[in-house]
Structure formats: C-alpha cells, structure tokens
Symmetry: C2
Subunit: 312 residues, 2 copies
Amino acid sequence: MAEVKNKQVVLKDYATGFPKESDMDIVEGTISLNLPEGSNEVLLPLTGYGVAKVLESGHPDYKKGDLVWGFTKWEEHSLVPSSQILFKIEHTDVPLSYYIGILGIPGMTAYAGFFEVGLPKKGDRVFVSAASGAVGQLVGQFAKFTGCYVVGSAGSKDKVDLLKNKLGFDDAFNYKEEPDLNAALKRYFPEGIDIYFENVGGKTLDAVLLNMRVHGRIVVCGMVSQYNLAQPDGVTNLANLIFKRIRIQGFGVADYYQLYPKFLEYVVPKIKEGKIVYVEDIVEGLEKAPPALIGLFSGRNVGKQVIVLARE
Amino acid sequence: MAEVKNKQVVLKDYATGFPKESDMDIVEGTISLNLPEGSNEVLLPLTGYGVAKVLESGHPDYKKGDLVWGFTKWEEHSLVPSSQILFKIEHTDVPLSYYIGILGIPGMTAYAGFFEVGLPKKGDRVFVSAASGAVGQLVGQFAKFTGCYVVGSAGSKDKVDLLKNKLGFDDAFNYKEEPDLNAALKRYFPEGIDIYFENVGGKTLDAVLLNMRVHGRIVVCGMVSQYNLAQPDGVTNLANLIFKRIRIQGFGVADYYQLYPKFLEYVVPKIKEGKIVYVEDIVEGLEKAPPALIGLFSGRNVGKQVIVLARE
C-alpha cells in the first residue's frame, strides 16, 4: 500500500491561443500513500475536481476519512502542501459535487461578486452574461431573491430555455442570434442596466457600456471570450464610465473566503427547501477532462462542468 | 439701468469631432437687470467663468454684493434660476480666480477623486495623466501630502519641468516622446501602479492596465483624448481587471458637494502657508474664450485655463 497508480492530466507544451485536446496528455504514474516523515501535508485521492477524501494527514485540521474541497491537481491522488487552503465538508446531505459548484468556488464567486461587489438593491435591473454557467445561473437566482429584474445571455436555444423556464430569469436571449447587441440590450433594458455581471468581456462589455444607468456597477468575474486571443477586442465605449459615474470592478473570490460561513447560511437552507436550482454537466473519467475543458471555451457545456473520478 | 449690453459666446451649429473656433460666435445682446416680479432667481454679472458678483437677488441665501462661484453661462451677465447651486465665497483673501480652480470644481474634483474614489494609503504609487492641468496638478500635490510616490505625464517639456520643479512630482515624462507607453510606465513604476488618476483615456489607459498592481484603483476623472473621436481607441487590456482585482471608477464631482467644507479645511490653510502651488493660464476678454477652449483639447494651455471678463 506504499505506492498506488496515479493517473494525471498533463500539459505537453505551452499552449498558445485557445487550448486544444492535443495540448494535453493523460499519463499514469505512481504516488506514495505514506507521508514523508514528520510531514504536515495531507494526502488525497480525488473523487472529483476539488472534492476529495483524506487518506492520510499530518495536518491537525484534517483527519483520515474527512471529506474536503479545494483546488487540487487533475490527478487521482494528490499530496497537498499544508500552506494550501482546504475546506472541510460539514453538510453531507447534498450531492458532494455541489462543493465544486453551488457550495464551492462558483457559489462563493456568485455570492461575493453579486452582493459584495455589485451591492444590489431591490428593483435593480441586472444583466448576466454566460448566464447558464457555473456562476451565472446563481447570480440570476440571487438577483431574484433580492427583488431585482434579471436578464441573462447565453449561446444556445437550450440554454436560453433553461434560464427562462428552470432558473427563474425574467428574460434571456441567445447572443449568437443578436447581430446588434446594443439593440438587444435596449430591448430588454429600456431604462438601462444597474448591475452587469461580466463573464465574457469584449463586444458584450462594449454594448453594455452604452446601456448602463447612472451609478451602475459592472462586476468583472471573467472575460472568457478574451483570455486566449492574441489580440483582444478593443473596448471603445469607456467614456461612459464618466458620463454615468460607473464602477467596474474586477474581483477574485480568494479575497472573500472569510464570508464562506455566512454564504453557507444563506444558500444551504435554500438548497434544502428546493428554492434554488443548480444545473450540472457531469461526465465520467479523468480522460474526459481535456475535451470538457475545451468545451468551456466554445460553450459546449450546459451548467457547471463536473468530471467524476470516483463516487463516495 | 433696466437693460445692459450682454456679450455671449454661442454655438453656431452642433459641432462634430473636436470643436473649432468657427463653431462659435460672440454675440452682443441685452439683459434686464431687474428681476421678474416675485422672482427668487439671482442676477449675476460674471467676473470670470464661474466667479461672479450678485447684482440682484430674490433668493434668501444670496444678497446684492455677494461673491459667488458656480457653473454659469459664457456671458457677461446671467440670470440664474433658483434651482441651480451657487457657492458663496467666504475667504476673499485669496485670488478670486482660485474659486474656479483650486477652490472650485477642479479642486473639489481632485480632492473627491483622489481621496474618496482613489482611497490612497501612504506609500502608494500614483500615476497622473494630464498632470499639469487644472485637476492633475492638485492630485499630484495631494498625493505627496499623503506620503505617496507620484509620477505625472504631460505633453510638453515645459509642462514636465513644471511638474518636477514647481509642483513637487517625484518624476514626470512627456508622453509625446514615448513611442512605447508601456515601457515608459515600467521604467517609472518598476513595482507597478496602485492608483491611476485618469484624465485622458485611450492608449494611456491601455498601457496603464498592463502596469497596475493587485487591488489597484483607476479613478476616471476624464478621457479628454477620446470625447470627440468618431471612433474612440479600443482598450484591449481589460482582462487585467480580473488578474489584478482592479477597480475602475468613473465619478462626478456633483456627487461630493457635501464635502466642500471639509475640503476647504484641508486646502485653505495649505494655500495660506504657501505649501500648495496652483498654476493658472490667464487670458483677458470673452473673445478669448473660444480659442482657449480649443486649446484645451490640443494641450496648448499650461495649468488651469482662466478667462478674465472683469476684475473686482
């Protein structure tokens, strides 16, 4: 039991532009299940990306058998240095995959971004891009709980239907069918947008800037359309920041981890009472991880992308 | 005394692109110095753009002979509706022109923008564009009072000398002599920028985004290089907002008028003790107003542009 096989996803080369499946390889090595002498590290076999069970621990906060979540490597077993933050899973009466979704980073991101950065008020008009994604679908539901009007954009008819019929958005549209995004936003927000929850960047941001209201807030969670472009789109309407006294704020969820208990108080009862919906796109096996990653950039996934390596 | 001649600057046509002198006309009409019956308006002859003496008043807060400042029309005498905010001048032992500069909108703009929006801390690295202008020159001095490192950019050797030798900036450069603004900023800010006080927009903003530090703040006061372009420059580096968790905030001084007494407490003693410098570019006569306006867009003025119509 000293060594076990350990499958990993590795990057073959530095990838330029959007990643391709051929940039990645699945390799099978071995890993020792015995901790180095005197170690305070934690040894994990992954049961999913970020949700795992502790096999051995030299760290006082974690003991063998604990379920934890956190950012880990793409491999079946991981040795986690003590400096890395892991969250212990207390509520086990929800699907464990929720800890990489609604109860994990995407959930905290939606919560911190919408409430702490967006500072919503009842009646605010909220626009969410990539609205059916891991984060967006929650922002829309949080906006409805707050008494806001919320419209989402997504990239397929199925996703738009999901937003309108299952996730409770007031309205939704397929951005791929809108040759003039400015006109589309004017249709859905004749009085303008108070909060834009930004997941995509580029042309969408440029159109949004033309439609913000005075003192509007743009919460920058991601700019997924821009990350891998050699030459990102030019955003030309930034002078509206002055005309409308707009705040644009980039944020990282790591700055808000201290709110995690407060977040759980907010969201766990809503899950148990069935008041909140979380859509996952689940595939089985580490081999499926590379194509699933590629799919994120083209919008192939519907909801939070989950890779299952093992079940509890 | 019922009617007096009243010279005005009028716009002949809707101006497209950068304004030209030929877009404006000087006309001479008349204005009644008697208030309409029962009026609570205030009748003003201007002694400068925004600094004026009350000739007649139906408003309880202002009486004949009061000196006031505020936004007025480009004319020698003005009838000011009661709804418009005027500030009464209490300190008359400073140049009255200061009330359209360091003690007026530019001063309040620098104060609110730097302190309230920028949230500076001692040791912060501050970059100011259009740094010798009406607002920029004060931001730089406020930054030094706060214990920050501050570098300004401007468009001529004279302005750069002014920043370094008279206004107390730690360093300054002529952006027209920097073909690579990103490289220039890396030279002046090897550890990055905490606060960028934005007056120009476009390419400068794009280069700044590459050089911001984590949790940096971009205070958007103006984007003078962009206002009159049919096609504004595209800003391509906005993904840095996420990577560095940056806040960009447009603001308008009107949201901060309640801080005016606090601002005077901060700045008036510094003026009287000679600790602060304010550079003005003064021309005489309303006829000089149109070319002075044009000059602002090409950076012809040095310091706050003042038009003198009459002296006290």
